[in-house]
């Protein structure tokens, strides 16, 4: 029997490249959801990875880095925060 495909619908799901059920250490919301100030997860509420490999919602991390108390440090290990560009370009 030969089957000729005439039409098909592609369906895909996406998720961030982080372990299942992991939460953002700053807001405690799962990475699969968005930060508390956003309404829908996705490109508008991206994650950000540090050179130190720690990951946060970008909005949460930027809010922290804007505070004087942060001294530009990663909230997890207090090393100077640097963006992991490999992860970032992978997203673009």
């Amino acid at each position: 029997m030969r089957v000729k495909v005439k039409r098909w619908h592609g369906v895909a799901v996406w998720r961030w490249d982080v372990p299942n059920e992991e939460v953002c250490g700053i807001c405690r919301v799962p990475f699969d959801g968005c930060c508390p100030t956003c309404k829908t997860p996705g490109d508008d509420c991206s994650l950000i990875w540090g050179e130190c490999t720690h990951v946060f919602h970008m909005h949460c991390l930027l809010r922290w880095l804007q505070t004087e108390g942060s001294r530009g440090q990663c909230p997890m290990d207090r090393r100077t925060w640097g963006i992991n560009f490999t992860k970032l370009f992978f997203l673009l």
Partner: protein, 148 residues
């Protein structure tokens, strides 16, 4: 109030009620302005059998800013705890990070009490208590003793 502030504190409260750390209990959390928790001295330590009350006051910038944390009522006698309830602990001031929480602060304080080997007040207690502002966050702390 920001969504981050209210959501984070709601989550922390639920977590502390459902899964409380040993010897730590939330006794008052009617608002997001201030909470009270009891802290029991751990068995086998100098504070065994004693119960203390911690008060947390949150600014609208929590968790980007540290909470104000003091002992009220029965103040533990400890080299890093002043008799007005102020606590000399770096994570409450310049070493705060938004990944810390009410739970982690309570555990740090519990561990600070547990490792104490001599119940005595801070050497500068009298002077400090006379001159300190109401909020311990206005004190210029110096942290030089990691042993207790």
């Amino acid at each position: 109030m920001s969504a981050l502030f209210t959501k984070r504190l709601s989550k922390e409260l639920v977590d502390l009620k459902i899964n409380p750390p040993v010897g730590i209990e939330v006794t008052e959390a009617d608002t997001f302005k201030s909470w009270k928790l009891t802290l029991d001295g751990v068995d086998g330590t100098l504070y065994a059998g004693e119960r203390f009350t911690l008060e947390f006051r949150f600014s609208p910038n929590y968790p980007m800013e540290s909470p104000e944390v003091v002992f009220t009522g029965n103040i533990p006698i400890h080299p890093h705890i002043y008799s007005n309830g102020h606590i000399c602990l770096n994570v409450l001031y310049n070493q705060w990070s938004p990944v810390l929480s009410v739970r982690s602060v309570c555990l740090s304080i519990q561990s600070m009490l547990s490792s104490c080997t001599c119940k005595e007040p801070p050497p500068d207690n009298n002077h400090y208590v006379k001159t300190a502002k109401a909020s311990p966050k206005q004190t210029q702390w110096s942290f030089h003793d990691d042993s207790v």
